[in-house]
Symmetry: C2
Subunit: 134 residues, 2 copies
Amino acid sequence: MNSSSYDVSALVDGCAVPVVDAARVSDVLERMPPEDEVADTADVFDLLSDPNRLRLLVAMLDGELCVCDLAAVTGMSESAASHALRLLRAHRVVSARRSGRRAFYRLADGHVRMLLDLAFTHTQHTDAVHPERS
Amino acid sequence: MNSSSYDVSALVDGCAVPVVDAARVSDVLERMPPEDEVADTADVFDLLSDPNRLRLLVAMLDGELCVCDLAAVTGMSESAASHALRLLRAHRVVSARRSGRRAFYRLADGHVRMLLDLAFTHTQHTDAVHPERS
DNA sequence: ACGTCGTATGAGGAACTGTTCATATGTGGA
DNA sequence: TCCACATATGAACAGTTCCTCATACGACGT
């Protein structure tokens, strides 16, 4: 079942490709989430991959804040914060409430809250993940 | 405690900044993780924010695979896969084992495994997070 | 009505990312 | 020893990202 030399039987995208372990490869291909699921998941991670957006989201963990306070807390300019919040809102990660001329933003996605918790909990009691010397 | 007009007492980075709710702002600032923790967490999310890297990691969820099989499974060129794996290895998310001329990669970080599980579990039974019409 | 305040948005640019192509490195077989 | 194979790496380029600056917009106070 596990050949030590090449096994060219795997069909990827209907096209024969040289692989080492054809059984494992087709197994993995079966379990692989569909294209759009992978893309959506990558999008979520992408939203969380910027330090400023991350700070914005952490700031909202225990309640809504207005744009200028979010800017103050994160050290961003109000314009930059507004741009970032617009992006987060477009992806329904946060939602906005208007009160007069002020806009209050809050977390709108419990799932993202869980990801934040999990990620920070780990980072806190783990030594930083530093790139190793090449 | 909660003023409805401006409150300029908050000191952010030792510099007076106009804020609406000074109490909440300093509260949030206290809970905010330190700079390097935020950066490290953002880095982890960044590694997960690319569909191809995501597929590579999902492929390794139930065991090691060699570079050419990983390339086959993800649809990447072997060169692109190698570059991506190098990046993941540099951040200690995966580790490599060499056997002859082949290199087998595996997940090296249980934390990342949890993030993947959480993220995909959610994406699976949630309608995709689509950007809303502006 | 007018000015100001809080926020939103568009344009533009510097910096970064991920790919491909070409080439290098090292292993195993003949 | 020589060649082919599996992987690694560097350079370069297209595409993207996130900021700033300028400006627009709408709500409030006077």
